[in-house]
């Protein structure tokens, strides 16, 4: 009997000691988006530095933030989007990055060096960025597509895919009406929702979806779709009849950055990992795999013309200046969500 109890006890002890062991030596706990890195890069980092990478994935900024709040010491490097970075800074969830240990962060493009979600550029290094725009079938559109108005045009009845995401879809409607994608004005948000409800009631919308859209567009299931630039590039690679445009009214430009949580157990290794991802050849590997835009000047130089001449991946500065970052909208989030519910259930 005693033997069994001892066995149980020692097993329990061993179990509780395991995480401590894992976090003791050369480990870095990375928390990134689903399918958002070239897996070879992880192996290369482990080989070059001897630091073991514990790689974990998430699919929503909101879920990721809950994880960081509830187990603050579990992650060393996290990849939140712009407005999530802003939120995490406000909640004191992040620690400043020691840029002396991340020399490759120098490669960051100038316009991304002091982004307004991290104004003093203390907490984050950009990882990937992109825009929101319209992916369209050039063989079936009637006339040029350069305005969000195309998505609300009745001649495309039943042929438009919208995004099943309150922020993105309401943001586009706001932009079309001449407001900011970050509007906190209840009347503006309501006007945007009414525009979307009208669009739905007229039968223009085919479906609200996120991940399915790109493959549907490749298969010719719709004429116009609201998409992220990376998804657009993926679809265009598979179907050359498709094209992507950031409408003239302006749009949302987003950045996914790399940050270190305030209570990270291995900040040194985290900095080493971030620095590694900022190395031009590594940033190139990731960019070519993920097919979003790279914030890394060195990587862009390596990719050369193939990248720089691609308007989708490398929009002109004019286009970028016409776009806005999303900002943390916590105090009016319930407005966006409630109006979005009305859009989704309009008949």
């Amino acid at each position: 009997m005693k033997k069994l109890a001892t066995l149980l006890l020692s097993a329990l002890l061993l179990l509780s000691a395991l995480p401590a062991l894992a976090q003791g030596g050369g480990v870095v706990n990375v928390f990134n988006w689903e399918d958002y890195i070239n897996e070879d890069v992880i192996a290369m980092f482990e080989e070059e530095t001897g630091i073991k990478v514990n790689y974990m994935r998430f699919t929503l900024n909101e879920d990721m933030m809950v994880q960081v709040r509830t187990s603050p010491g579990a992650f060393d490097v996290v990849f939140p989007s712009d407005y999530a970075i802003e939120r995490m800074i406000a909640e004191d969830l992040l620690q400043p990055i020691d840029f002396a240990k991340v020399p490759n962060a120098e490669n960051t493009l100038d316009w991304l060096k002091n982004p307004d979600y991290d104004p003093e550029n203390r907490y984050s290094v950009p990882y990937m960025w992109g825009t929101v725009g319209i992916l369209y079938d050039t063989t079936r559109v009637k006339g040029p597509v350069d305005s969000w108005g195309a998505l609300f045009d009745e001649q495309y009845k039943g042929e438009v895919f919208m995004m099943d995401s309150p922020r993105d879809t309401l943001g586009v409607a706001l932009k079309y009406l001449g407001y900011s994608v970050n509007s906190k004005n209840p009347q503006e948000i309501q006007a945007a929702a009414n525009l979307l409800i009208g669009q739905k009631q007229k039968g223009i919308v085919k479906a609200y979806q996120v991940d399915e859209t790109k493959d549907k567009m490749v298969a010719g299931e719709g004429i116009l779709a609201l998409v992220w630039s990376g998804d657009a590039q993926y679809a265009i690679n598979l179907n050359p009849d498709l094209a992507y445009v950031v409408p003239r009214e302006g749009s949302n430009v987003w950045v996914d950055g790399m940050v270190i949580p305030a209570q990270a157990k291995n900040p040194e290794n985290a900095q080493a990992f971030i620095d590694f991802l900022c190395r031009p050849d590594i940033a190139q590997l990731n960019c070519e795999y993920i097919e979003y835009s790279s914030p890394n000047a060195g990587a862009i130089a390596l990719m050369g013309e193939e990248y720089t001449t691609n308007e989708n991946l490398n929009p002109s500065q004019e286009t970028i200046d016409n776009c806005e970052f999303f900002h943390d909208n916590n105090d009016v989030k319930v407005l966006y969500d409630t109006f979005w519910g009305m859009v989704k259930n309009a008949k």
Binding site: M1, L4, A5, L8, L60, E62, D63, M65, V66, R69, T70, R87, E91, G158, D164, S165, P166, P186, Q187, Q190, K200, V205, K206, A207, Y208, Q209, E212, K216, A219, G220, E221, N330, D331, V332, K333, V334, L335, D337, T338, F339, W340, G341, M342, K344, N345, K347
Partner: protein, 330 residues
């Protein structure tokens, strides 16, 4: 409004307590019996129930009756009745008069529930109309292929229901199999997907076996001599069916209705895939409230309301089939 809270500390404590109690119970029972005894076999399952059913239920109850700060409130249920409730509260807090938006009561949540109930009812009815004759056909003892048909009904269920639903897309799409066929025959293209009918089709397809099997089970268990006796006494086949076969199969029907109606009401994912997210069902609403709207409190209240509804309909059905005879299959 400080984002979502972590699990309340007592939930973690409860979880640890359950684990500790489990270990203690196992050790005690081994000591007392000087070895393993039968009661020991129930422990893994009891632990399972406690950790994965009872504690989560308590948590849902806790979240449903508290606000984000953990204070007791009934606001989450008011939000069910008036989907604009939370928004108006926040607007007032921001110093904006909600009346300026002209917003009366928001009916999104109630409408969604009503829509889900109608869809579930329609699905159950269609399943019954297709399922009963099918079960009758398969249970007929003069029909040799009956058991083969049963297997054929079961085979698709070996595959995950998500995959089966996604497979429907390639049939119903604009450039899908059916439309390609129509085009080849010179017929106009039909919009088969992204509407309520497609969702209903997906539901019937997925839940039909749950109707067929309980009915088949109760039909095939019936004593053949009863129908023979009925015929001997002069009843024609129709009368025999009405007076003997059908009443005896009622428990199976009740069980079938239960097993189709419950999952139908809580359907989610199918509306998103086949309905293109154009109309939400209650399950989708709960998912959106938890994830995208990031509101566990209202989400829990909605879940609680749904659970109560299901319990009510279950107890109603129990009245028809007090012995629960039909629930033997699956």
């Amino acid at each position: 409004m400080n984002g979502r809270m972590a699990f309340p500390p007592w939930a973690t404590a409860l979880m640890l307590l359950a684990l500790a109690a489990f270990v203690v119970l196992v050790v005690l029972s081994i000591r007392r019996n000087r070895g393993f005894r039968r009661t020991l076999f129930s422990f893994p399952y009891s632990l399972w129930i406690v950790v994965f059913t009872i504690i989560p239920l308590l948590l849902i109850g806790y979240y449903a009756f508290t606000d984000r700060m953990g204070q007791f409130t009934l606001d989450n249920f008011k939000t069910f009745w008036d989907s604009n409730f939370e928004m108006n509260k926040q607007l007032t807090q921001l110093g904006f008069d909600p009346a300026a938006l002209g917003s009366a009561r928001g009916t999104v949540n109630v409408d969604t529930l009503v829509y889900s109930l109608w869809m579930a009812l329609a699905c159950t009815l269609i399943c019954l109309l297709i399922g009963y004759p099918a079960a009758l056909f398969m249970a007929d003892r003069n029909f040799r292929l009956g058991s083969t048909l049963v297997i054929l009904f079961i085979i698709p269920m070996w595959m995950n229901f998500l995959l089966r639903t996604i497979a429907w897309m390639s049939l119903l799409e604009d450039n899908g199999l059916i439309n390609t066929l129509l085009k080849a025959l010179g017929l106009p293209k039909a919009q088969l997907m992204y509407n309520s009918q497609a969702v209903l089709l997906g539901m019937v397809y997925n839940y039909l076996p749950f109707m067929v099997f309980p009915i088949y089970n109760s039909l095939s268990k019936q004593d053949r001599r009863l129908t023979e006796a009925s015929m001997d006494l002069g009843a024609n086949p129709a009368l025999t069916f009405l007076k003997v076969t059908m009443p005896l199969s009622l428990p199976g029907v009740v069980s079938g209705i239960t097993m189709v109606f419950m999952p139908s009401v809580t359907t989610f994912f199918i509306p998103r895939v086949l309905g293109g997210g154009n109309t939400e069902m209650f399950g989708d609403l709960i998912e959106r409230t938890f994830l995208s709207a990031d509101n566990w409190n209202v989400g829990s209240a909605l879940s609680l309301i749904m659970m109560v509804l299901i319990l009510l309909s279950l107890s109603l059905l129990r009245k028809v089939d007090p012995e629960g005879e039909g629930g033997s299959m699956i």
